[in-house]
Structures are given as structure tokens and as C-alpha cells.
Point group: C3
Chain length 320, copies 3
């Protein structure tokens, strides 16, 4: 496999596996390509022929209706034929290997796989296999793998920040919450540093931070009030339900007290700071409703931009 499996020999996007290792120009090209797609969504007829006659497979080894829906809409608005495969209950149950499943779908002339998998690295494994079996025209989009990456989420967050703040190189950005278990956080941090954000802060209790997190280029804060002081952007993370009752946290109420984003904590950030959340939100756990529905939240624009960013990624992959 080439040194950078995400790029083709001309330096164009071949797969989207992770923001880590993606050149800055490609990240910017995706954001730029997404711009006109936001206008398509405003039209009477929300439809472009860019993927007409292409077969896009939503290959979900882990259930996620919301993420699948965003990719399904993006692909349908590009006129693709979309096939949803919830693989957990299917061939895998019959003992078929991941790569046999992929080989079969490639033999059905799949053009693109949107892959969600509980194991980190599964999309990379598929991309590697497509390389090994010489399938340069079949593309992989990582829609979330284990704790590793969720690159379209990271990209839509960057689109959102650029939309409201224009220049990345003047920003202080805080990522807040369960960074340890979050593929979203990883993708966000890589995207922010790639785009030249000078100060990225990681705010989390000690039990929810990966060891050596500083290596990612972040400043660590365990006190949320301290960490939020003067930031331009607050990126909240979702607290997975399974963490709330585990040994890592005392209780949702306790978590909210120290790491839930309330109006008084947000007041420590810059007055024009924006608040992001990848959804679905646990209101009253990691975010207070007053903030979620308040004037600084850009959580719903994130969703809108997310469709445009996914359309951009898919059309760039299909047209090399």
C-alpha cells in the first residue's frame, strides 16, 4: 500500500479513513467543495447527477441510524443508488469474514463503501484490501471505527468553525468531555491542528483522558472553568450512556456539575464563542438545555453542513 492510503497517485482523495495524515490542502479542498452543496439544499429540487448510476453501500457493522441517514441523504441527493446493509445481523452471523463480504460487494460493482465498525482500523483494512486486489475505482469512507476516527464529523466541525470564525490561525478551541473513548475528539483534534489552530485545549476529568494526550498537540485542563476562559470555540462531546454508570464516573449529575456546559461556565469563554456538539445530546448531562437551545449553539447548522461535507467527500472520491 502507498505511504498514504488515502491519496491516489495524483495526490487526490482516494479514501477518507482519518483526518490524521490528510494533507492540509485536501482538508481545505473538501471544505471548499462543500460550499456550493449547501446551496443545493436550499433549492426546490435538491438533486444533482454527480453520482448517477453509482452504487453506494452503507456498510454498517454497528447500528447508527443517524449517521447512516446523513450519508444516505447525501448520496441520494447526488443521485446514487444507495444500498443499506446492516451487516451485524447478516453474513457475519453466518461466519463470513469482513473481507469476503467486501469482495462480494465489489463483485457486485460497488463504487463506494461507507463503513461503520466497532473495531478501530476496519475501514483501513478494507482500503488496504482494495489496494491489494487492484480496485482503484472503489472508495471507502470511514463513518466511525471503534475509538479511532470519525473523519466526516471532524470535517463538518471544521466547516462549521470556518463558517462562523473564518480564520483558523487566530483561534483558541476547547474540546470538552470524554476524550478517552471518543473517535470524534481524535478527528477534531487532528483537524484543528492540521488547519493551524494555535491553541487546542482538552478539558476532561483525569479518568476520561488518554494517556499522553499532550502528544496530539493539546493543552490539558481538568478544571472546565479554567479551560473555557477566553476560548472562541467550545466543542462538547457526547457522554456515552455506558460510561455514565461505569466506574470512571461518579454519576451523570456529578458529571454535569463539573463538566456539563452551563450558561455560567460558557460566560467564561469569549462573548462571541460558538458551541458545537456532534449529537445526539444528553441534555442535563454534558450540556444544559439553555446552552443547547441558546444563541451561541451552532449544533443544528453542524447537521446541515454535515450533509454538504458528505456530498463533497463522495463527489471528490467518485471523480478522483
Amino acid at each position: 500500500m502507498a505511504r498514504n492510503p488515502q491519496l491516489n497517485s495524483h495526490g487526490g482523495l482516494r479514501h477518507l479513513l482519518s483526518i490524521e495524515g490528510l494533507p492540509r490542502e485536501i482538508v481545505v479542498a473538501i471544505l471548499d467543495t462543500a460550499e456550493p452543496f449547501t446551496e443545493v439544499a436550499e433549492r426546490e429540487v435538491k438533486k444533482l447527477p454527480l453520482l448517477r448510476g453509482k452504487s453506494v453501500f452503507n456498510l454498517f457493522f454497528e447500528n447508527s441510524t443517524r449517521t447512516r441517514t446523513t450519508f444516505e441523504i447525501a448520496a441520494k441527493r447526488l443521485s446514487a443508488d444507495v444500498i443499506n446493509l446492516n451487516v451485524s445481523t447478516s453474513s457475519t452471523a453466518k461466519g463470513e469474514t469482513l473481507l469476503d463480504t467486501v469482495d462480494n460487494l465489489v463483485a457486485m460493482q460497488a463504487d463506494m463503501f461507507v463503513v461503520r465498525h466497532a473495531s478501530s482500523g476496519a475501514p483501513y483494512l478494507i482500503a488496504q484490501h482494495l489496494e491489494a486486489t487492484r480496485r482503484p475505482n472503489v472508495h471507502v469512507v470511514n463513518a466511525g471505527d471503534g475509538r479511532h476516527a470519525h473523519p466526516t464529523q471532524g470535517l463538518l466541525d471544521m466547516y462549521t468553525i470556518r463558517h462562523y470564525k473564518r480564520d483558523f490561525t487566530q483561534l483558541t478551541v476547547a474540546v470538552v468531555g470524554d476524550i478517552l473513548h471518543s473517535r470524534v475528539a481524535r478527528s477534531q483534534i487532528h483537524a484543528l491542528t492540521t488547519l493551524g489552530v494555535p491553541e487546542v485545549r482538552a478539558i476532561a476529568p483525569k479518568t476520561l483522558l488518554p494517556s499522553e494526550v499532550e502528544r496530539l498537540g493539546v493543552r490539558v485542563f481538568h478544571d472546565m472553568r479554567e479551560g473555557l476562559r477566553g476560548v472562541d470555540v467550545v466543542m462538547m462531546l457526547r457522554l456515552q450512556n455506558e460510561r455514565m454508570t461505569g466506574s470512571l464516573l461518579p454519576s451523570p449529575q456529578e458529571y454535569f456539575k463539573f463538566f456539563g456546559l452551563t450558561e455560567d461556565k460558557l460566560a467564561l469563554a469569549k462573548p462571541d464563542a460558538i458551541v458545537l456538539h456532534p449529537g445526539p445530546m444528553n441534555r442535563g448531562v454534558e450540556i444544559d438545555s439553555a446552552v443547547a437551545d441558546g444563541g451561541q449553539a451552532v449544533i443544528l447548522p453542524q447537521v446541515t453542513f454535515g450533509i454538504a461535507v458528505r456530498m463533497a467527500v463522495m463527489s471528490m472520491l467518485a471523480h478522483g
Copy 2:
């Protein structure tokens, strides 16, 4: 919210939530609009471009393959992009609220929600929220909410009656069965009285009638033979499986004996009386196979007209 949340400021259809409160002219307009759509279904190419580029979300919080299918076909024949969301197993399980789910889908530029929900009022709540968040171009169709309403069922029943009987103002119509738990019955009774049917009869055992049912404008009968005498139209209701073994009824066999529609009971109605059933039928419980498959049954035409009525509702909503 406007006094009548189902209408826009020009008196056109904005949402379809319930037949209760729908002006007679709108009900008639839906039936009239549906007429040409029945012809589309006879064509070689069953496809019209009226909803091309629109995103229709089948938002089913309660499983119902049959109802979802009818809306899915109707939307696809209008060339819409259709996304099926079985929400029970998705975001709701992750703790997201109904309105957060709706906000997210609106942010993805949904044009229409077809909503099925176990709680009465859920589609109304969504419509109210769309009003509050100023989304006049997003529409809601109630596909069945709790015990409240199932308006497209009521409308397709009216289409069927009009097709066979032409003039509503000369008819005696009987609604038979579990009226207490039936959203279908409620929608039918409102539709029949709205369209000027002079005598609507409710035939049911005492345990399966809502208290003060007479307020809906029906005549109550506990003896089926008496209630069927001389009627033009017999509208059978489905007996839900869960009622059959409950404390409200002795047994399916006993129910059939007293409230099952048999040929000899039907003989008491007018000779040209028609028999409707919303499906799926419990043969031998609320209806005898001889009647279900007999010459007076119009149960399959109901299904055919149901597609046309749903196409009519969707196109009226989309084009104001």
C-alpha cells in the same frame, strides 16, 4: 400556533394531523386530487415528478411495515427521495428527545415527515414545533398516533365509499368493533360526519366503546344484528391481538359469535351494502372469510385507493 394547525394562512393544507377540525372543502379537495392518481397506477410507468428532489422521512416510532410501505410507494411514485427511519431502535434509545430528532432531520433539509407514534398527539407536537421554529415548508402527515387518529386511513375509506356510493348525504354507515382502542374508528367517524353522512352507527360490546361516544355524533348499538339493519356501508375494525386475551373480551371465538361479520349478519344490511376493513384482517375473529373474499367486500380497492389518497395528500402538502 394558528387556530387550525393543519392549514396555512391561505387556507391550504399545511399538515395532515387529524380529520377532526379539517374543513369539509379540504377533505373533498383531497378526494378530488386523488382521482387522477388512481390512473397513474394503471400506467406502464407509474411515476410522476411532483416531489422530485424532495426528502420524505418515514419517521416510525412504532413498527408498521404495511403503513410504511403505502407511504413509501406513494412518495416514490411521486419521485421523492424516501428515507425510512425506525426510530425506536435508534436515537431515542440513545436518550435523544423527539424534538431533537426532528430538529436534526429538519437541519438535513427534510421536506416532509410521515409520523407513526404510540403516543397520541406526537405528530401534533412536531407540527407545533415546526411552527415555533418557523419552518413553514416542512410538513407532517400523521400515519397513526396512539388511540388518536389515522387520518389517511379515514380519507381512503371516504374515497372508497364515494367511489361506490357517490352521495354521502343519503347513507347509513356502521362502524363495527373495538372502537375504544381504535384511531381508525375515530378518523372514520369524523370523516363521515364532516362529509354529511346523516346516520353513523357505532356497533361494539360495552367494554370496547369509549364513554360518551355519542358526543361524536354516532348512534350506539350493542347488538350487531340490530345495528346492521338497512346500512349502506359496513366498516369493520381490526381486533388487536392484545385485546383478544385481555380482560375486556371472553375469547376470539366468543367475539366472532357476537361481533364477527358473517354472511348471515351481513344479509341484514342493504343488498348492495359494501364492506370495508383497514387490514390486516383477523379472519374468523372480526370477519368471516366468506365475507372478506365475497362480492360485497371492497377491502382490496381500499388499499389501491389508499396509495392515490396518500399521493394526493403529499402533493397537496408539497405544493401548498
Copy 3:
């Protein structure tokens, strides 16, 4: 019902229920029709308008994501509107009969049913019912019924054999494995004898062979090495998981030792022999990975040809 329910009065294909009873000319016509469809799959825009505006229902009473996917892709590439119905969890659970479900979908103007059912004969029953209710323009494709038949699998296998070997009348073909429980084996054997293959061998342990299997026109072998000697084509069958631990077989390891296709066993076949498998494979049970991934395996081309064959069947049915 006509003597041959699969043919219309002009001798054209009306339903595809089983290869048994299908005239040789029809089988050949399907293979010939499929040829140009393999080219469609190579195009930039994999889309033909042959089923535009037709409603194809994937009516799966038994879960099979893989088979459903192949039909869904085939129908979408022909521009049909496709509706997936997983009926096990739907109306049937509500007590509706198979034929009531079919009647309802016909009333929704279904054009084609792709039927998968655990009971042998279910697609035939549906075809018979369509005949009885005078629906000559509604077509049935059997996508696997009980132990009876899986005709599109048999046809794609024939397409594959013809592609590599051209002339059926010179071949020796071995079908290997659990023939007793395999609808695939039954369809293959009928297809091979219909197309004039002079020697069809059935290789299986005694416990996995139907009684009187010789009546199908096969030569029986219980020793795999003996049976493979000199064959042109090896058609491996999948060993169902539920058989592996049952009383019919000692263990998967034991099965592999005697009936698993290894390189040394395959060496007994002709040097240019090809190996087929319907998938999904149990590597190390009925087939060794070295063979599955080796130069003689045509397992992935089978999948590719399968899409073309299904497109051929669907377009022949629709344009009868």
C-alpha cells in the same frame, strides 16, 4: 393453473419459480439476455430504464441480506422502485396470511415479487394465487424456498460455467456437499441436465444425500477423491452452520478432512477445472482458503454474473 405455471400463453417467461420444468430454450434465453447486462456494470453510469416506474417488492419471509442485496441492485440498475419487506417481523406476526399480504401488495400495484421463504412451494403458491385472481402482469421470482429451489443461483452458475467452458455437452460436473438440505444443489442439478451436461456427479456423505437422488440423473460418490477425478467443474455447496453440530456430521474438522475442497483433492480434477461456491463460504469447513482464493476459483465472477442474470430475469418478466 396452466400446465407450466412459469410460462405465459406465448411460451414466454411469466414467473421464475424453479429450473425444474423450465424449457431449455428459456434457460438459454436468460443466459443470452444476461450477456449485455454484464457490460452495463462496467459503465460509468450503471443504469438502464427498462423497469422505470415499476414497483418491485423484495418479499423476504426469511432473512438474507446478501440475496436481497443482489436483487435490490439488479432492480435499481434497471431503474425500478424497490421496496424491501422483511415480512417475518410484520403482518405475519399480526396473524395475516401469506396470500392476504400478497393481495394487499398487488392492490398497491406491485409489478414483481422477489420471494424468499422458509417453506418449499411458497413462491409457487403466490404464482398460483395470482393466476386464480387474474393478475397476468404481476410476476414472481423465487429467491429461495425451503429445500426446494433457488433458481437464480442455478442460472448464474450456468452463466459462469458457459462463460469459462462454452459447451455444456462435453462436461463432467461435480456437485459436492450437503445435497440433502440444499435448494441450490437441486437447482444446479436441474439446470445442468436441462443444458445437456452428460455427467453430473453428486459427492456427499450418505447422511447428506436425499434418498433416490439418482432419479435426478446424477452419479453418486461418497468418496470425494474418486468423485473429483477428471471433472471440468467443481460446484461446492455451503455447509449450513446448524448441520455442523447436528447428528448428521461428526464435526466441522472431520467434514473438512473428507469433503472439504483442498488443493490436493482439486488436483484430481482436470488441470483447467473451475471451482464454484454459492457463498457465503465457510473457509476451512467445506473449502480451503488456498482453493477459495486460488486461480481456479470463479467464486467472485459468479457474484458479478449473478447481478446480470437477475437483471435478465427481471427484464424478461417485465417485458414478457
